[in-house]
């Protein structure tokens, strides 16, 4: 079963605009991560936010985490055509046997038009 649910499923914007994607999850987490997947490629790690953090920045990326609402958002500022990809949130929760594993949401497909 999926832990993270991204919203919206698809997003289409113009270059230069900001893109905001949201992720909601169900159970307590240790951290939440965002990954990017270009068409036909593997996933690439973007940013990690720990459960005791509320906001984190990396270049044009801004991630927020609200553990009371069990939600996170990923903001990409000043988007570029090269940002076109699918974006996944992944929650890190305790797995049976004591080993953590990531559970991925279904992703948001972002299209940035020149």
């Amino acid at each position: 079963s999926q832990q993270g649910e991204e919203d919206p499923q698809a997003l289409s914007i113009q270059e230069g605009e900001n893109a905001t994607m949201n992720c909601s999850y169900k159970t307590s987490i240790n951290n939440l991560q965002w990954y990017r997947q270009n068409s036909g490629r593997g996933l690439v790690h973007l940013i990690l936010i720990r459960s005791n953090e509320r906001e984190k920045h990396s270049g044009r990326l801004r991630v927020t985490l609200d553990t009371s609402k069990k939600s996170s958002s990923l903001l990409i500022t000043a988007s570029r055509a090269a940002d076109t990809a699918s974006y996944f949130c992944a929650t890190d929760s305790m797995f049976s046997g004591g080993y953590n594993k990531l559970i991925f949401g279904a992703g948001t497909r972002l299209a940035v038009h020149p």
Binding site: S1, Q2, G4, N30, N31, Q33, G40, R41, G42, L43, V44, H45, L48, R50, S51, N52, F88, A90, D92, G97, Y99, N100, K101, L102, I103, F104, G105, A106, G107
Partner: protein, 116 residues
């Protein structure tokens, strides 16, 4: 540095055939994973390994077997392929177990498998 390498990249199987997907990582990571990705769904964990000689079931293990005879390799086997196993398969590895510090996972480029 190649990272995580998967072979083959594309394969078409007939129902009932068997095959093995190979995964190799050169980052000396302890943890390795096999995921499948289906349209409209996120990645689902099939099996994982926390070290050489160990394997464990993930969310969707049925119909698959794995082996980790060497630390750098993680093999995924389909004993009798079914159309429901048509999917994109991703191998991944990570250096840590996770926890508050995080468990950043490094992915291969994917293997597209079609079962007809």
């Amino acid at each position: 540095n190649a990272g995580v390498t998967q072979t083959p990249k594309f394969r078409v199987l007939k129902t009932g055939q068997s095959m093995t997907l190979l995964c190799a990582q050169d980052m000396n990571h302890e943890y390795m994973y096999w995921y499948r990705q289906d349209p409209g769904m996120g990645l689902r964990l099939i099996h994982y390994s926390v070290g050489e000689g160990t394997t464990a079931k993930g969310e969707v293990p049925d119909g698959y077997n794995v082996s980790r005879l060497k630390k750098q390799n993680f093999l995924l086997g389909l004993e009798s392929a079914a159309p429901s196993q048509t999917s994109v398969y991703f191998c991944a590895s990570s250096p840590l177990a996770g926890g508050l510090s995080g468990n950043t996972i490094y992915f291969g480029e994917g293997s597209w498998l079609t079962v007809v």
